[in-house]
Symmetry: C2
Subunit: 411 residues, 2 copies
């Protein structure tokens, strides 16, 4: 099998919605591929739906039903990637490049049955290898899969990236290039602080933390898949030729790095239940209803009990706040708590880096820095390679810049 021959150079590229957002941009992508074609032995290109096509389709569905069936919504959404795959194949032919589009059912890319958030189970690469042998660029529709029962699924957020990494793993590709509208991964959001520096490389683990924290370059599921199959990812821009950022195994150079970056997220809200009776099992009465509604609770803190009651505070995605408040207020009443407060105006600021494993001073430096700026820390959570603090959203940019300086991340 061609893909197993390690003397072949196989690359998987992925172009996101912005990169294929218009006919002009699709032509631009075709041109980039044409220039690149001869550097590699085989090329598979994964595409997302054009620009806001997925949102357009979703709003069509919501115009006919409040809660569209996920099965049918997947049939609907999968059409978006189908359109871009066909258009890119057409455009490549126009540039003199032999190309062929593949939808997931045609390969197939087999997934489980979880509509709107399916997981890839198996990718059959035989048609791709055949296409490579005929000298074609294989253009694969991202984001979509097919169940063994021939039902169309979609992979959920970051789905096309996951398709690309999955294909790279199945093809044993040299690496996977992910083209997007940013040039790579930065030490912090360049829009927030001009001192932001583009990273040459970042480990899977740090990238996963960043992705989980709201840095929108790659979805953490995709990074997790890459880590599992050791697929090297290069993140770069489809609009210029700037060097991108490699996402790969932690190597010696990276181990020297204390902190890879500072990131923030404003997509969460905070709920506090005050005066919760301090009895075993009480917390579960609050959190089980949330779990049953699929509401993801992120950070949880409980203060020290006074007079046999405690205050419980936790964060949830802001768009779930109303639903959550309804459930929590009901539960609070049932358990005899004193009241429920909430706050939508919060931000989570995080520092991430593999180096903090062997360096216990990171947390202290973070708290000191925020204190020096007069920023109150509402909640703290930590992992091996990450420290997050919830603060008032007004201080987001100030906090990012101060921490970026404090950890010497700048150019």
């Amino acid at each position: 099998m061609a893909a197993q021959k390690r003397n072949m150079k196989i690359i998987v590229q992925k172009y996101g919605g912005t990169s294929v957002g218009t006919a002009e941009r699709i032509k631009n992508v075709a041109q980039r591929i044409a220039l690149r074609r001869n550097d590699v032995d085989a090329l598979a290109v994964v595409v997302s739906a054009m620009g806001n096509e997925t949102d357009r389709l979703l709003s069509l569905a919501r115009n006919v039903a409040d809660f569209p069936s996920l099965r049918e919504q997947d049939v609907l959404l999968a059409s978006g990637e189908q359109v871009s795959a066909a258009l890119l194949a057409i455009s490549l032919a126009e540039h003199g490049i032999k190309a062929r589009s593949f939808l997931s059912f045609q390969l197939p890319i087999i997934t489980d049955k979880k509509h709107a958030g399916a997981q890839i189970k198996e990718i059959n690469i035989s048609k791709l290898l055949q296409s490579f042998q005929e000298g074609e660029v294989a253009v694969v529709a991202g984001f979509q899969g097919i169940t063994p029962g021939c039902e169309i699924t979609t992979l959920g957020r970051g789905g096309s990236d996951t398709t690309a990494v999955g294909l790279a793993a199945a093809l044993n590709a040299n690496y996977c290039e992910i083209y997007t509208d940013v040039e790579g991964v930065y030490t912090c959001d360049p829009k927030v602080y001009v001192a932001a520096r583009k990273l040459k490389r970042i480990s899977y683990e740090s990238m996963m933390e960043l992705a989980g924290l709201g840095a929108k370059v790659l979805h953490h599921r995709c990074v997790d898949l890459a880590r599992k199959y050791n697929v090297k990812i290069l993140i770069c821009s489809s609009f210029n030729n700037a060097e991108g950022t490699w996402v790969c195994e932690e190597d010696e150079k990276m181990e020297g790095t204390l902190i890879s970056g500072v990131t923030y997220s404003r997509g969460e809200a905070k709920i506090s239940v005050l005066g919760v009776p301090d009895k075993p099992g009480i917390a579960s009465l609050i959190f089980i209803p949330l779990a049953e509604m699929g509401i993801n609770v992120d950070m949880i803190i409980q203060n020290i009990s006074r007079q046999n009651t405690a205050d419980l505070t936790f964060t949830i995605p802001a768009e779930e706040l109303e639903k959550a408040l309804y459930l929590v207020t009901k539960a609070a009443h049932e358990i005899g708590a004193e009241g429920v407060h909430h706050d939508r105006h919060i931000a989570k600021i995080s520092v991430v880096g593999g180096g903090m494993r062997s360096n216990p001073g990171v947390a202290a430096r973070m708290f000191q820095t925020l204190a020096r700026e007069g920023i109150n820390i509402m909640m703290i959570s930590t992992s091996e390679i990450k420290i997050s603090c919830v603060i008032d959203a007004r201080y987001t940019e100030l906090a990012v810049r101060a921490l970026h300086d404090a950890f010497n991340l700048g150019v």
Copy 2:
């Protein structure tokens, strides 16, 4: 198998692009289906792409390439029907009707490999029967097929109608309802003459002639398929509940009808080659290049030879005129003809009806009527149940109205 039990009432419905053109109209279709659901044991609904979606997709393709590969164009266009099928299934669920969408590869609807104009070879109905047994309305994406090699095809013009009739034949359905933006088949275009009368029924043969002559209600391929499998078609409007027109085998009532209707087409152009040397084989030198370019020649006349030369006149689709003129001028030069004329401003007026088989006076009455109105006949062609005349396009409406009156077609 459920479909074979003749005590079951199975109906196939087809809704065209205008009927599903917006979210509102899709909801309207869902409502119509909900009202109808209990009258039948099983219902399969075929949908076209929304409104001008096919044109939008085609123009995207033409923005990236002058001549898109037909294979990729089929992948692109098939997305249109996928979107409407999913949306209608979503909307039906919202109306409390169990429904499930099916794309051609999911059934499958097997076609030959002729991209952009494939023919249905086989329809597997087992998934539809299963869906019926579960009480679901099966929503089938029209216009698309799949080859045995898993390539997406489209059926060309009138493709969704063909899907509907093909399904009705495969399911042995009681009949096939085709919903469109007109109320049925008229004795002539109601926009041209208010006296136009809606037909209660029309034979397959007359309908095929009408379709071939440019009456846009049904494509002749679809009518031909219906005739072959004896599928009764009801043409009606999706915007009201007016009685439609049945297309079926000629019956006794219809045999009494001399003429079913008067129709016209302005989509053709006329080319004349003057002074063609009167030698065997000369005509083929003109027509072979046209055939090789896929240009469809409709009517051909050659006048009586004088001084060993003849004038040759024929009609072609107006949109092919430039290409045809180039080929014909070249051929005329090679064979030593005197010159080439052309005329874009022509119309073809036809009277159609099964009754004319046993009534030789129809042609005479047609020519007389046109003569009385001072309309010059440029070309004539006849079939068993149709007479067509080419006239100056300026007189189109006048001719339609005069013939409609002459054959007493009015209300």
